[in-house]
């Protein structure tokens, strides 16, 4: 045991349950985050190209961005919660070592979020020149995950922790770790792929009313998706290569789970390429969701392998909080039911059919 690792606190439930909860919410967070980041990049690209179809598509995509941001933050909170419960003794020191950057995440996100709302509101300032604002937002959105990657790798690299003795002001990024850049790129390229897929799905939806626009969005979206998925094979291999040998071995056959997950991931990636070529965005989405879950599982394998000897789930004390667990399960079920109802309300056709052209929006609302 490394003396710098704080004593772990008793877990409020068994390890597998908490780990399962983390593996449920974290992939959802990734999906929302990837959709947000990738779609912002798509909006920037098409705003630059600025052909008529691009001009029609951009506001449709922009309208989803603040909502994706809200979901990303919310699901991120849940992931951090379970992550701190499971790995607190590694999590907090890693965040403290890079305290300035860790805290900077908040103002960066706030600026990006406010920017997205303003873009969506189509404020006059942005209407004429949306590109600088979009570039800034994208830059902010690319910086935040870089800090997260640094924190998550610092958690795994206890030798780096000793750097604290010469620098305790919270400005230690983990840049010497060779896995940081490939890992970060792996996430960012995934985000671009998901942005492409999100664009294609938006195209499907728009195609019902406006077939040319829908077909265009689907085409550019799926093209981005397959290119990025292809690129991902290269980056994935680079990332695997940079992992320390014992950790790499866990994935390449040393552990059954690790090996199976890697095989599954490669298979799903190939299937996604085939589906994209066949213009099947719906099936691509199903496969993508599976892929993100598989990859998150692989990420946990890497984490456990990296912390071998330091993280001993079997030895951690557990004080089951059955009542609180039951409460959470109840709130979760009720919450999901309410969310389903709310989503259905949002999808309902407007109850305000236009009766006459002269009737104002307010008058129509008053009829309701």
């Amino acid at each position: 045991m490394n003396v710098l690792v704080p004593t772990a606190e008793a877990l409020p439930a068994g390890w597998p349950l908490l780990q399962g909860l983390l593996l449920l919410v974290f992939p959802l967070h990734l999906l929302a985050m990837n959709g947000l980041l990738g779609t912002t990049a798509v909006v920037l690209l098409i705003r630059r190209r600025n052909r008529p179809l691009d001009r029609a598509l951009a506001p449709r995509l922009t309208a989803s961005l603040p909502i994706l941001m809200a979901l990303t933050i919310n699901l991120g909170v849940a992931s951090l919660l379970f992550s701190q419960t499971l790995y607190g003794q590694f999590f907090y020191p890693a965040a403290i070592l890079m305290g300035r950057y860790w805290l900077a995440i908040i103002p960066l996100l706030m600026t990006a979020y406010a920017g997205l709302y303003m873009l969506d509101a189509d404020l006059a300032v942005f209407r004429s020149r949306p590109l600088p604002a979009l570039c800034l937002i994208l830059a902010l959105l690319l910086t935040v995950p870089f800090f997260f990657t640094n924190q998550q790798t610092t958690m795994l690299d206890l030798t780096h922790w000793r750097a604290y003795f010469s620098e305790d002001g919270g400005s230690l990024l983990n840049l010497k770790d060779p896995t940081v850049w490939p890992r970060y790129l792996h996430f960012m390229v995934a985000a671009m792929a998901v942005g492409g897929l999100f664009t294609a799905l938006t195209g499907r939806r728009l195609g019902r009313r406006n077939p040319p626009l829908g077909a265009y969005a689907e085409r550019i979206g799926l093209r981005l998706f397959s290119r990025m998925t292809l690129l991902q094979f290269g980056i994935g291999i680079l990332f695997l290569w940079q992992l320390p040998q014992p950790v790499r071995w866990f994935i390449l056959g040393g552990s059954l789970t690790g090996g199976l997950l890697l095989v599954a991931a490669s298979g799903i990636a190939l299937a996604m390429l085939a589906c994209a070529a066949q213009r099947l965005p719906g099936l691509c989405t199903v496969l993508l969701v599976m892929q993100v879950f598989v990859m998150s599982g692989l990420r946990e394998v890497v984490r456990h392998a990296s912390l071998a000897g330091q993280l001993l789930p079997a030895n951690m004390p557990v004080l089951w909080q059955n009542g609180a667990l039951l409460l959470f399960a109840t709130v979760l079920l009720a919450g999901v039911a309410v969310l389903v109802w709310l989503t259905r309300q949002a999808m309902r056709p407007p109850a305000t059919a236009v009766i006459s052209e002269t009737e104002s929006e307010d008058d129509r609302a008053m009829r309701l």
Partner: protein, 419 residues
């Protein structure tokens, strides 16, 4: 407990937490009360077929969504980020005790986000019954989030007799849970009423603005009136040592309450004026009202934080992250793996005093507090820290370490007082 300390001596971790927290509580109480105002105003507008009021409600909802999601949600995450950095042992203890309460609160947060977005986007699309129901869901979810977080925050101040980590509900429903819930609900109505007033004051439709300001003023007055008994109930349920701090033994709290009283007075007068002569409440008055609300809320939170001293978790973990059951005379640095041995004085300050004192900063500067004390005087003071000033934790360490700290502080005093 064994965590590194994020050391930025001129600012201080406490200052960072306080800054984010004050913004957050201001917006988050608005987020709880604002839903109630939205449903009330929309219901009124629909019932009376009042088009200007309806339009106002829709605009207010847009402002509300932006303010609460961008500033409220993210500063909430910000507090958590900041306490993880500044108070890792306290944060970890709370997370491990209340993880499922927090997880339930996360579900409520998700319902809040989705319901307020759907509410705004379906304004002119759904029947009035459905649309108001969506607003109602938002109100319920946001008040229940307050309910959940309230249990955790009050536990930090008044854990009651709870010892075992597995006991969640008795820790949650601790002695100040209900008074605090009532007080916070009042503050939520008050602050959101101030926001309604401010948005109305900027409206071009003066007759509408006057009507709204009168309603909001009435709401604020009721909230202020109900807050008063809640404060006394809260005080009554505090344990004796905490109560003496609040009633004057803590200079921090004395200063904080000196801000709260005039703020409350301004708000009461303003609310009466809004009822009696709503036309007199223009943009400047509305802004003063918001500022007074911010000060009132800020000093409540500041007082609550200061009342918990010297603990971060009353009775078990001190503000500087040390366990309260740790033997006082045992050498400190040798059992603190994250400290380095080269500068014992600095390390002792960092691990034991820095949590509440900056070095040359604004917030509780140790150089100011120790002005005119030389090393022997400091050494004597440090050995009596807790006895003289009960809001400070006792010094943990050997007599040699105590001397190291005193000498280091005296040296800082000398180098710090040179301009």
């Amino acid at each position: 407990m064994n965590y590194p300390v994020w050391y930025i001596p001129s600012i201080g971790g406490g200052t960072i937490i306080a800054t984010i927290a004050i913004i957050h509580v201001f917006i988050s109480h608005f987020a709880v009360g604002g839903g109630f105002w939205l449903v009330l105003l929309e219901g009124c507008a629909r019932h009376r077929r009042d088009r200007p009021l309806y339009r106002f409600t829709r605009n207010f909802a847009r402002f509300f969504l932006f303010a609460t999601l961008v500033c409220g949600a993210l500063t909430g995450v910000g507090i958590w980020f900041a306490i993880s950095l500044v108070q890792p042992s306290g944060t970890s203890a709370l997370i491990h005790r209340f993880v499922f309460v927090w997880a339930a609160e996360w579900v409520l947060f998700l319902v809040e986000i989705v319901s307020i977005i759907v509410y705004l986007h379906t304004f002119d699309r759904l029947s009035s019954r459905r649309h108001l129901a969506i607003g109602g869901i938002y109100c319920a979810a946001s008040w229940l989030s307050l309910f959940a977080i309230n249990g955790i925050i009050t536990f930090m101040l008044t854990p009651g007799a709870v010892a075992r980590q597995g006991e969640v509900f008795s820790a949650f429903f601790n002695p100040t849970f209900f008074p605090s819930l009532l007080l916070r609900t009042c503050l939520a109505i008050l602050l959101s009423g101030l926001f309604v007033t401010a948005v109305a004051a900027f409206s071009k439709d003066r007759p509408l603005a006057r009507r709204l300001i009168r309603i909001a003023g009435a709401g604020c007055l009721v909230a202020l009136g109900a807050a008063l008994p809640a404060v006394f109930w809260y005080l009554k349920n505090l344990p004796a040592p905490v109560r003496t701090l609040v009633e004057g033994a803590s200079p921090t709290i004395v200063r904080s309450l000196a801000v709260a009283r005039p703020a409350a007075a301004i708000l009461s007068v303003g609310a009466l004026l809004a009822l009696w002569r709503p036309g007199r409440i223009g943009k400047p008055a509305a802004m003063i009202g918001l500022a007074a609300g911010l000060l009132l809320m800020g000093s409540f939170e500041w007082t609550r934080e200061a009342a918990r001293r010297p603990y971060v978790l009353q009775g078990s973990i001190y503000s500087n992250g040390q366990r309260a059951d740790r033997p006082l005379k045992e050498p400190f640095l040798s059992s603190t793996p994250w400290s380095k041995s080269t500068e014992p004085g600095r390390e002792l300050f960092k691990f034991q005093c820095y949590a509440c004192h900056t070095l040359g900063g604004i917030n509780n500067d140790i150089l100011q507090r120790t002005q005119g004390m030389d090393a022997p005087a400091l050494e004597a003071y440090i050995s009596q820290l807790h006895a003289i000033r009960p809001f400070m934790p006792p010094f943990i360490g050997s007599p040699d370490e105590r001397r190291d700290l005193a000498v280091w502080l005296a040296n800082q005093q000398r180098s710090g007082s040179k301009p």
